[in-house]
């Protein structure tokens, strides 16, 4: 046996055992106990909101606005109770976007409203004419103006949601069981609210969310610290409470891309892809052994190491597995035997030329290397471009495919060359499969 082959063989076997241990469920190495599945496999919603920076306060920088929007969306998503949400910002020449992934959310329409609504809350009073009666607009509705009062520093301030403490919650009125949102003012808010309730005693005070009137209760007493918003349905109350606590967004958002996947659809797709992978791999194994005999058998052993390494890396990095990602991995299994085919073909040629088995093995690997390298580099170039493309769209499906195809191709270079060669040398050294016929060379 060649010098240095045994340590390499031991290393490969240990690596293989380690990978198998990583893959097995329950081995929560580095806190990774499960494969990370993408949204298309576990179901949920992928949303891209466009941030309208033209509406921002000129005093703020673009970066500040985007950061604040992201932070508030994160708060809203977390309060909504989504497990493992993703909130990312994307900036490119088309504008600024927030990408939000909500795994497992079922009422997506409601979630979209929750996240994307500006949720600017304010309190308004009715303008009174000289006769003391409310001024009406053309449609006969009273005219509401935002209630202002003097703040602690004597400046006139509008009473809006920004003076709320972030502890609004949904409560049910004891008598009627109607939902309402209970809120508390901070110190400044309390100063403003006291003056406003004072001057609007026995008059209606309008509560507006994004310029829409929610309710207009009549002020019964002078209030300082707290209040309630009535006239909302239960799910609206829940959304409103979350929005008040997260703070209103500084600029309006619009949904520009939305992808929902039902959970059952994801499960079904996962099962189908795995089945396709198993059947495809089985065909490759049968073909390789039938055609290349012993070389094919060794290639299949190397394939086993390849699959184990791949899966272990998917779990450890972790790679977010998507359907196209799994397809990329399966395609790399098919393409991954390319190196083995190249080597096995060379081996046959060298044996036909009358070389000894040991020499033919060495020559086969030496001669094939340049083709293996060149051929894989082109796949890397394509993967790199795809990865860039996927990132510019924020398309996780494209990224998923590029990632797994890249990892698969890189690893297959290692297994095709190093692992297969080590196994081959070991078997040759042990004197297994000596006849050229075992390598698919026909007797002349």
């Amino acid at each position: 046996m060649r010098k240095g082959n045994t340590p390499l063989l031991i290393f490969i076997l240990i690596l293989f055992a380690f990978c198998v241990w990583v893959i097995l469920p329950g081995s929560d190495i580095f806190g990774r106990d499960e494969f990370k599945l993408g949204l298309d496999l576990k179901g949920g919603s992928h949303l891209v909101y466009s941030i309208d920076l033209t509406k921002k306060d000129p005093a703020q920088t673009d970066a500040d606005v985007i950061e604040s929007v992201k932070l508030k969306i994160e708060r809203r998503v977390n309060a909504y109770g989504v497990t493992e949400p993703i909130v990312q910002t994307i900036r490119n020449e088309r504008g600024s976007f927030v990408l939000v992934q909500l795994p497992g959310v079922t009422d997506i329409d409601e979630a979209i409203k929750l996240i994307g609504q500006t949720a600017e809350l304010d309190f308004r009073e009715i303008t009174l004419g000289e006769d003391g009666e409310p001024v009406l607009d053309e449609e006969g509705n009273p005219q509401w103006v935002i209630a202002k009062a003097k703040g602690s520093d004597g400046q006139e301030r509008e009473l809006t949601g920004k003076y709320l403490k972030p502890n609004a919650q949904v409560v049910l009125t004891p008598q009627t069981n109607e939902p309402e949102v209970a809120f508390e003012w901070n110190t400044e808010g309390a100063i403003l609210f006291e003056q406003i309730t004072q001057r609007n005693l026995q008059k209606p005070l309008g509560i507006f969310l994004d310029d829409q009137l929610i309710s207009a209760p009549t002020v019964q007493a002078v209030i300082k610290e707290k209040g309630v918003i009535t006239g909302v349905k239960l799910d609206e109350a829940r959304t409103l409470a979350i929005q008040l606590n997260s703070g209103s967004l500084d600029v309006p958002l619009t949904v520009v891309e939305r992808r929902d996947i039902g959970a059952t659809l994801g499960e079904d797709s996962l099962r189908k892809s795995l089945m396709a992978g198993i059947i495809g791999s089985a065909m490759v194994i049968i073909f390789m052994i039938a055609y290349y005999r012993f070389s094919g058998f060794v290639a299949c052993l190397a394939l086993l190491v390849f699959v184990a390494l791949n899966l272990a890396i998917f779990k450890l990095l972790p790679v977010v597995l998507t359907l196209p990602g799994i397809a990329g991995f399966i395609v790399s299994i098919g393409m991954g035997v390319d190196g083995n085919v190249l080597v096995a073909e060379r081996l046959k040629e060298e044996l036909r030329r009358g070389r000894t088995l040991g020499a033919a093995v060495e020559e086969g690997f030496r001669q094939s290397w340049s083709a293996i390298l060149d051929a894989n580099v082109t796949v890397f170039i394509a993967c790199a471009v795809l990865y860039w493309l996927g990132n510019t769209f924020g398309n996780f499906l494209v990224i998923g495919f590029a990632t797994t195809l890249f990892i698969g191709t890189a690893l297959s270079m290692f297994t095709q060359v190093v692992v297969t060669r080590t196994f081959m040398r070991t078997f040759v050294g042990l004197g297994v499969a000596k006849s050229p016929g075992a390598y698919g060379v026909l007797k002349q």
């Binding site: 520009v256 493309l389 769209f393």
Partner: protein, 306 residues
């Protein structure tokens, strides 16, 4: 030895027979753009009981979506395409259909893209394909830098590559008007993967020709090239077969999400095997010798040149 180079004119003709109608289809019908490229909303509706296609169409018209495209997808499932709709409109649509058709509706998948995003996608896709092709041309020219004319090798590889891409895109164009197949971001992914894989095959063949040039197999480049191609035959067909096994399995069993991606790969890889054996090296010979080959009396030609 099989004479694959002498028959080159035949191979060029076969390719032309496939490519020309494909290009005509592309010019006349183009590709059918999916939501990614044209914007709009696509969704899969699953009802809890059988619903007539005509009923669903009527309901959609009544709800104001008279431009909706409706396709049945299984017994209680439909695939519909609408102009882009908002979350509020979606809720209203769902409730409207449920009352109108008296059936419970689950939207099992929904994909909605606004025109802003769609426009950028088209642009970036074109950039990506150009960048990938240029990158590969540069790499091959570099890999074959020790050959007398590295640019020729690179150019021939890229022509063979473009050949494969045209076949893939043309087939999708034909499928577009025959079977309503739309192209989406995953189709583009498939096309770009074909770029990588197809060149992979060409590189292996070129590598073998290069080796034969170094070894000085023959003074005639045509013979040298043919040697290289026939020696790669076993490898190209077998690797191709192994790859096609898994891809066909994925196509038949892998579910609908990745259909476009896998179909593009399937067509691209099959074409790639053909073009690496029958087009790429042959083009190199045409360039070196300035001779397109002949339809008949091939054997004589090889004998005289050998």
């Amino acid at each position: 030895m099989i004479d694959l180079v002498g028959k080159r004119l035949w191979f060029f003709l076969i390719s032309a027979i496939v490519i020309i109608p494909g290009i005509i289809s592309l010019a006349v019908f183009g590709l059918k753009p999916g939501v990614d490229f044209s914007s709009g909303t696509a969704m899969t509706l699953s009802f809890d009981k059988g619903v007539e296609l005509s009923q669903l169409r009527q309901e959609l018209t009544d709800l104001g979506y008279d431009r909706a495209v409706v396709q049945p997808a299984g017994e209680e499932e439909f695939f519909i395409r609408l102009p882009e709709i908002s979350a509020e409109e979606n809720t209203r649509l769902k409730e409207g259909l449920e009352t109108g058709l008296d059936a419970k509706l689950t939207i099992s998948s929904l994909y909605s893209v606004s025109p802003v995003v769609a426009a950028g996608t088209v642009r970036n896709t074109i950039i990506a394909i150009v960048v990938a092709s240029v990158g590969i041309l540069l790499y091959i020219s570099w890999a074959f830098r020790k050959m007398p004319n590295p640019i020729r090798w690179g150019t021939c590889a890229v022509i063979a590559l473009v050949h494969d891409l045209v076949v893939v895109i043309a087939v999708f164009s034909i499928l577009g008007w025959v079977a309503g197949v739309e192209v989406d971001a995953l189709f583009v992914t498939g096309v770009l993967a074909v770029v990588g894989v197809s060149v992979n095959n060409i590189v292996v063949v070129f590598d073998r020709i290069r080796e034969n040039v170094k070894r000085g197999v023959s003074r005639d480049f045509e013979v040298t090239a043919n040697c290289g191609i026939t020696e790669s035959l076993g490898r190209s067909l077998n690797t191709g077969l192994a790859t096609l096994f898994v891809i066909v399995a994925l196509y038949l069993l892998g579910g609908t999400t990745t259909h476009n991606l896998v179909l593009a790969l399937l067509i691209g890889i099959a074409t790639g095997i053909y073009s690496s054996l029958c087009i790429a090296g042959q083009l190199l010979v045409v360039w070196e010798k300035g001779n397109w080959g002949r339809i008949s009396s091939l054997r004589k030609q090889v004998e005289t040149s050998a």
